[in-house]
């Protein structure tokens, strides 16, 4: 009717739900009472990777949560946002949503020193002296351990000394955080 020119933007109309008068413009724009709530156009949807690494979805975060409860997915299941390029564990998504819902302040980030699979000094020495790659394997760097073995052999043992320094630095760093597989001489 407004488009046909019969009603103006300032025409008073009765909002039955609110039991009050409002202007037509306010009614149509949803202002002054929220008669027409804005549709949720920006709801993110996600795919998850199943056991065969096939993307399944898309699902809303709530649907993903239902899948988690049903046991279809787990915290470490890889998920990706619709249209996104980076896969991430579902646990990251949970943390992001938790942080967003609390204003990003109430949920502290995990401490940088946390590493649940921290290797003790005794085991670090034991495995290093038993088999160098196994020693590095304790914090997920077995391949790097083999590289040091090769370097040591090729350099008639001199490179092995550098490897010992790297091993010690890795041991120190892994007590505070998880190491990358090819992280050389990590600092705390």
């Amino acid at each position: 009717m407004k488009q046909e020119g019969k009603l103006g933007g300032q025409t008073q109309v009765l909002d039955e739900a609110a039991k009050r008068l409002t202007t037509l413009d306010q009614l149509l724009n949803g202002a002054g009472g929220g008669v027409f709530p804005a549709p949720q156009l920006n709801v993110k949807r996600y795919f998850y990777a199943d056991l065969n690494n096939t993307p399944i979805g898309p699902f809303s975060p709530e649907e993903l949560q239902q899948n988690l409860v049903a046991g279809t997915i787990r915290a470490e299941t890889q998920v990706i946002e619709e249209g996104g390029t980076a896969w991430q564990p579902y646990s990251n998504l949970i943390m992001q949503r938790l942080s967003a819902s609390t204003g990003g302040a109430a949920v502290p980030p995990p401490p940088p020193s946390s590493n649940p699979k921290e290797v003790s000094l005794g085991y670090a020495i034991l495995w290093f002296l038993c088999c160098v790659p196994i020693g590095f394997m304790q914090w997920g760097q077995a391949a790097k351990g083999w590289v040091w073995v090769l370097i040591a052999i090729v350099t008639s043992g001199i490179g092995g000394l550098v490897g010992i320094v790297d091993y010690w630095m890795c041991f120190s760093a892994q007590q505070k955080r998880k190491l990358g597989e090819w992280e050389f001489f990590p600092r705390n």
Binding site: L129, C130, P133, Q138, A142, A143, G157, G160
Partner: protein, 157 residues
Amino acid sequence: MGVFSSQLRFGYLALAAAICTVAFLSLAGVLPAYHCPFATFLEFSCPMCGTTRAWVQFFQGDIAGAFSCNPLFMLWGWWCLVALADLVQKGLGAGHPTIGERCIIAVGRNKLLCAIQIVCFASMLVYVNVRLANTGAPMSEGSGRNSPVRESVTDNT
């Protein structure tokens, strides 16, 4: 989407191939003498000291000589084999936990195995270092066929 990218998997297999090649050349005496950094620079021997030479003698059929070089060479060899299998397994696309990770977790959880490993480790640490003190040369020094240490150990056996 695999656990490891195809490039990384190729890298693992290439590394495993390089290790096998170097091990073969080392055991065949083609590579120059390897000087253990522990024994050469830090003046103490690790429990694996003499393992390379022990395997050389083992493959030459000298079982007694092999055990003389390092009585536990098969134990350390087993762990090297596990680490190598771990690398190959990752190269073939297996995810975590790999065979190596399973092994160290199993040993870590089993108190008896853990105790045996520590006892082997400690006794070898003492044994090889007493020999180092007596002979003045580490057992693992010189994996080449003509190395003086090899000759001296061969003389001992």
